[in-house]
């Protein structure tokens, strides 16, 4: 599979986004992001994303992993100003190429959407317009942002559809979203997100609802685009295996905070947070069989019921009395790694033999 026009040097009109001031680290910088909501039936506000910081370099794919309710999707949505009603950004900064997206209002967001940052959602039906043919939707943003002509647009739409592995693209592009299967809708939406050749794509579990064969193709396409056209990815998922295939760096979220970050290879070889270790152990591998799959006891805390101290301590086998109170900030472990666990050494020994198991 070739990525064709998607990897051609960018051709676009006058720059819509001011160039990044020199000396800035990273394409996207998120600093101390905090998002709050009201729990159902309550008036008080609680933080569902608290003090999340990270950055993404050009051409880098970063995974954001956690279970449902960990705040990973809200983090992603806050970046593009797409928080659902009731959720608000309480503090922090989000900078894309040096431009603050949180305080700049709608205008700064509109400037980066499409050509700068796009998003791929989990639910294609809510992201597509039900009364517009999908072929037009794929190139809608690109026509406006890049000034493609009608003919150019339909050619690009066809090419994008082919890259998505869509059979019979001519026929599919003239259909409406409700006439497509779930997998097709998803690929149409991904094509629309990639049409403007964005520099950063935010992915919110884009392949979770798809068959493995289609997932494999989409993951491979994203990997290729990253390599060939320096597109950056922030990939939110609960599937560690997809992250292993696609991302270079990984951050693990639990109950609204990042609990571990580092390179994918190092974290999978030797996780330094018991939650990460638990996730790795719980992920079944198709090529090897262990005697028993180990889950993590209990379940993630409800919104507004975050345990004191380390939020993971009620489910953690390494927890001691020190874990149940106080702040648990991310601590730097060197080499780009950090963990919020105060028992990093115990976790390291618990993770020994992980390779042997697999």
């Amino acid at each position: 599979m070739r990525a064709g026009h998607l990897v051609r040097p960018r051709e676009r009109g006058p720059a819509l986004v001011p160039p990044a001031p020199s000396g800035r680290p990273g394409l996207l910088e998120v600093e101390g992001l905090t998002v709050s909501v009201s729990p159902p039936g309550e008036r008080r506000r609680v933080d569902v994303v608290s003090n999340v910081s990270f950055n993404i370099m050009a051409g880098e794919a970063v995974g954001l992993v956690g279970e449902s309710g960990s705040g990973k999707s809200l983090t992603l949505r806050a970046i593009l100003g797409l928080l659902p009603a009731g959720a608000t950004v309480k503090g922090g900064a989000v900078r894309f190429e040096g431009v603050d997206l949180l305080s700049g209002g709608k205008r700064s967001l509109q400037r980066v959407r499409g050509t700068g940052v796009t998003m791929i959602f989990q639910e294609p039906m809510t992201a597509l317009n039900p009364v517009v043919r999908v072929g037009e939707q794929i190139v809608d943003a690109a026509r406006r942002q890049l000034g493609w002509s009608r003919r150019e647009s339909s050619e690009h739409a066809l090419e994008l559809a082919r890259h998505m592995g869509i059979r019979d693209p001519d026929a599919v592009l003239s259909l409406y979203p409700h006439e497509l299967s779930g997998g097709l809708r998803q690929r149409v939406m991904i094509a629309a997100a990639l049409a403007c050749q964005p520099r950063l794509v935010l992915c919110d579990e884009p392949t979770t609802a798809l068959d493995v064969t289609i997932q494999a193709q989409i993951v491979a396409l994203l990997a290729r685009l990253r390599q060939e056209s320096q597109m950056s990815l922030l990939y939110v998922t609960h599937d560690l295996a997809v992250v292993a295939q696609l991302c270079q760096r990984l951050q693990v979220m639990y109950a609204g905070s990042i609990v571990e970050k580092g390179s994918v290879a190092e974290i999978f070889a030797s996780p330094r947070h018991p939650y990460t270790l638990g996730l790795i152990r719980a992920t079944p591998d198709v090529h090897t069989v262990v005697d028993e799959l180990t889950g993590i006891p209990g379940s993630a805390p409800h919104v507004g019921a975050r345990p004191a101290g380390c939020a993971f301590h009620p489910r953690c086998s390494l927890a001691t009395i020190e874990c149940s109170s106080g702040e648990m900030p991310l601590r730097d472990l060197g080499n780009g790694r950090a963990s919020a666990c105060i028992h990093v050494d115990a976790c390291q020994s618990a993770a020994e033999g992980l390779e042997a198991v697999r």
Binding site: E67, S181, G183, V212, Q215, H238, L240, A265, D285
Partner: protein
């Protein structure tokens, strides 16, 4: 006399498209056995007919041709006697929608116990508690309603409800797909334990092959309404002899960073059921397809040089490269 609990032979389910009235075979001649105390995995992409087959077994599908036997007696679809219905129970994918949101756990379980007259009235209360213990939930959850529970707890309640009438066969349709991995492992272990303790037979439908590998004794791979490969789990996973099975296995990402490749042309979507290719229905996604595949549809046949009961529906099963084809790295 076979020791199979469930025996399906040549099951066909035909739907008619609402607009064009073209008949569409969602299940097209499937034969499958589930032995006593056996867990059989049924895998395939969406649209392969695996859920339709599950609905046939529990009696939720009315337009069925073919023969189905349960414990030696014919498994009728219409007018299935209550006793037969009791013995086959189902667990659905989404515990958020399969439980009644207004009923407490006790009510959901007690209803089933009463309908099937499983225990005398005075024992209903204590039986509800026993059922929760069986799925490792505390008795305190009896007065809880679904919205007060986590996804994993809800699925355990759904399993307890399926166990209430003391079935012999459990049909589980994607029971862990909607759950987080940390919770998923616990539910998979629960199924294994129920088989061990109660001797349950389970027809386990999943698209996640890794889960199937950890749980099932045998696997059947379904594609566009037909079985393409079937055999002991270890044989199918380590010695896959149908190109489709090989494709599925290669498409699964693993935790080993970047050992991943695009599985040939099968990365394209499956054809429509109403427009199946001639001959082998997988041939237009198959990299080994030849003239013969266009002309005749291969039957699901026992392989002479593989594990016992290992069957594959490919003309070239005997000569297909066995090992996983070389892997092209997807990233630097």
């Amino acid at each position: 006399m076979s020791d199979a609990l469930l025996e399906l032979s040549d099951i066909r389910v035909t739907f008619r498209s609402r607009r064009s009235h073209i008949p569409v075979r969602a299940v097209d001649g499937v034969s499958l056995k589930v032995g006593r105390g056996e867990i059989v995995g049924l895998v395939g992409e969406s649209g392969s007919g695996k859920s339709t087959l599950a609905r046939v077994v529990v009696g939720l599908c009315e337009t069925v041709d073919g023969e189905a036997n349960f414990d030696g007696a014919p498994l009728t679809v219409r007018d299935r006697p209550p006793e037969l219905r009791r013995r086959i129970q189902m667990v659905f994918q989404d515990p958020y929608s399969s439980l009644d949101p207004r009923m407490t756990v006790r009510q959901q379980l007690a209803e089933v116990l009463r309908v099937h007259r499983v225990v005398p009235r005075e024992l209903v209360g204590s039986t509800c508690e026993d059922l929760l213990t069986q799925v490792h939930l505390p008795g305190q959850l009896l007065p809880a309603r679904p919205r007060q529970m986590s996804g994993g707890q809800r699925q355990r309640v759904a399993i307890a409800r399926a166990l209430a009438p003391r079935p012999e066969l459990l049909v589980a349709d994607e029971p862990v797909s909607a759950l987080d991995v940390s919770v998923q492992a616990g539910i998979v272990r629960l199924f294994a334990e129920l088989r061990r303790k109660l001797g349950l037979s389970i027809l386990f439908i999943a698209h996640d092959l890794a889960v199937v590998r950890h749980l099932c004794d045998r696997v059947a791979v379904m594609y566009m309404g037909r079985l393409l490969e079937e055999g002991a789990t270890v044989d199918v996973f380590e010695n896959a002899r149908h190109p489709y099975t090989q494709t599925l296995l290669q498409a699964i990402p693993t935790l080993q960073p970047a050992d991943f490749s695009v599985p040939g042309t099968a990365g394209t979507e499956p054809p429509r059921l109403s427009r199946l290719p001639s001959g082998c229905r997988f041939r237009d996604r198959c990299k080994y397809a030849q003239q013969l595949c266009e002309e005749s549809e291969p039957a699901l046949a026992e392989l002479s040089d593989a594990g016992a009961g290992h069957r594959s529906a490919c003309h070239f099963s005997a000569t297909l490269p066995l090992a996983r084809p070389p892997v092209e790295p997807a990233r630097s």
